[in-house]
Amino acid sequence: MYRLWVFLFGEGWLATLATFITATTAILIVGPLMMMLFTWIERRGIAYMQDRKGPNRVGPGGVLQPFADLLKFIFKEEIVPDKSTRFVYFLAPIIAVTSAMMTLIVYPFGPRVTLPYFGQVELVIARFDIALLYVLAVTSIGVYGIALAGWASNSKYSLMGGLRSSAQMISYELSLGLSLVGVILMSGTLDLYEIVEQQSGWYGFKWNIFPQFIGFVVYLTSAIAETNRVPFDLPEAETELVAGFHTEYSALKFALFFMAEYINMFTVSVLATTLFLGGWNVPGLALLFAPGSIPFAVFSVIGFFVKVFFFLFLYIWLRGTLPRFRFDQLMAFGWKFLLPVALLNVVLTATLVWLGVL
């Protein structure tokens, strides 16, 4: 029995298993928790901008409102359309939420730190050579959640909604990918941890946002379109349509789509922080604490989350401010403006890197 165990898991399987379980638990807790916290912040923020109060009854200031919503979602009636393709109908929300959560493991959220018992630890769940490509690959799988949901419901509104949203996501994925090429060219690696480390020093002036400003703007725009948010929220368009691809979804299955959208917003913000805003680097922190010490790490992690929440706040801000695009405007903007600008940025960066300027 033991030999079979060793054959299957190899020597040192306990460490592997422990790492695996830790990573999985971390994702399964951090992802939904962030999403819940953010829905509350968003509702309160939007309410503040629109001069109302927002949910403030459940818990102190309404913090527990998302948990009440979750309970509500669980106890809602489960409705499955009669002629739906059942297997695909249930598969679609699972694909959406899985692909949203899978990217969470690669982001470095803190610097190297020397802990009392463990020795030197890098504050990242999984570090590997192609982290950035992994993020793009998993994101591109997420389109299936939406496309299949629209198709499997066997309703024409869902189908049109699914086609609309997947067309939007495919179109903006191109400029999203191209806007990252500038950063890759400059840092010469796809390892997110190393990209962050290269941005440390110079009191924050080594952040990629300065040399890659065009890339940053293109990334931000296409990221908002990728996550289907205002002003690109055509898939949902709550003031015009019934709903998009999730018209026929109810109860917890709808909640899964909702969760996938918010986790996607979170990961997109984390990626923006990691690539353009220097990740966990806080300007001038090395003057106060020695790098590698515990307070240094704590403040770095706090700095990282402050940056992420800045981007999340940007989402709320935009939602409170901007009107929605029309679908033809959306497509024309993506293909005729954003994509050429992203390509121009690639050419420009490549030339400058070749000349040795950057």
Partner: protein
């Protein structure tokens, strides 16, 4: 651990491949094919070729299969009806070809196992790393790479030329002529 992961991924890949052929609903086949690509990407990772794995998922599962799923959704392809097998005579030929294929695979494995050449273990090769793929593509294999990209460019230009709409004025005139013709025909009748 590696062997367990390999077994899981291999089971996923083979199961999805069989399902892809056996399903009668074309969309189920497409989903199964995506499963095959994902399983193979996982196997590439265990063979220390993470770059190839990522490209496999981005290009095949993320781009090409999305197009396939789109086409199936838009055309609303019906479930295939079970038909009597045509070309029954070719069944023995298929069996024969499958047998030859298996024999070849077995021979290659036997040859590799018994040969004197000792390749480095798969988990230590650097074939699939980003740096080695990049340097190989842009130095040693530059010409084939450029020719391939030229071919793809030609395909794109060709597709656009074929699908391009005639300019509105011209199209309108043709349509007008067509309606006039039908009208004259009906009046003649």
């Amino acid at each position: 651990m590696t062997i367990l992961i390999f077994l899981l991924l291999a089971a996923l890949t083979i199961g999805c491949a069989v399902a892809m052929v056996a399903q009668r609903n074309p969309l189920y086949s497409a989903i199964a094919l995506i499963g095959v690509f994902l399983g193979m990407a996982g196997i590439y990772v265990t063979l220390a070729a993470p770059f190839i794995a990522a490209i496999q998922v981005i290009v095949y599962a993320g781009a090409i299969m999305v197009l396939v799923v789109f086409v199936i959704m838009l055309l609303n392809v019906e479930e295939e009806v079970r038909r009597p097998i045509r070309l029954r005579r070719l069944v023995p030929l298929g069996v024969l070809l499958a047998a030859i294929f298996f024999a070849e695979a077995a021979f290659i494995i036997y040859f590799v196992e018994t040969s004197a050449y000792n390749p480095p273990p798969a988990t230590q090769s650097n074939v699939g790393l980003t740096a080695s793929v990049g340097t190989g593509l842009f130095t040693k294999y530059l010409l084939p790479f450029e020719i391939t990209s030229l071919l793809i460019l030609m395909a794109i230009v060709g597709a656009i030329t074929l699908a391009r709409r005639v300019s509105t004025l011209e199209g309108g005139r043709t349509r007008l002529r067509a309606t006039e013709e039908t009208r004259s025909q009906t009046s003649a009748d």
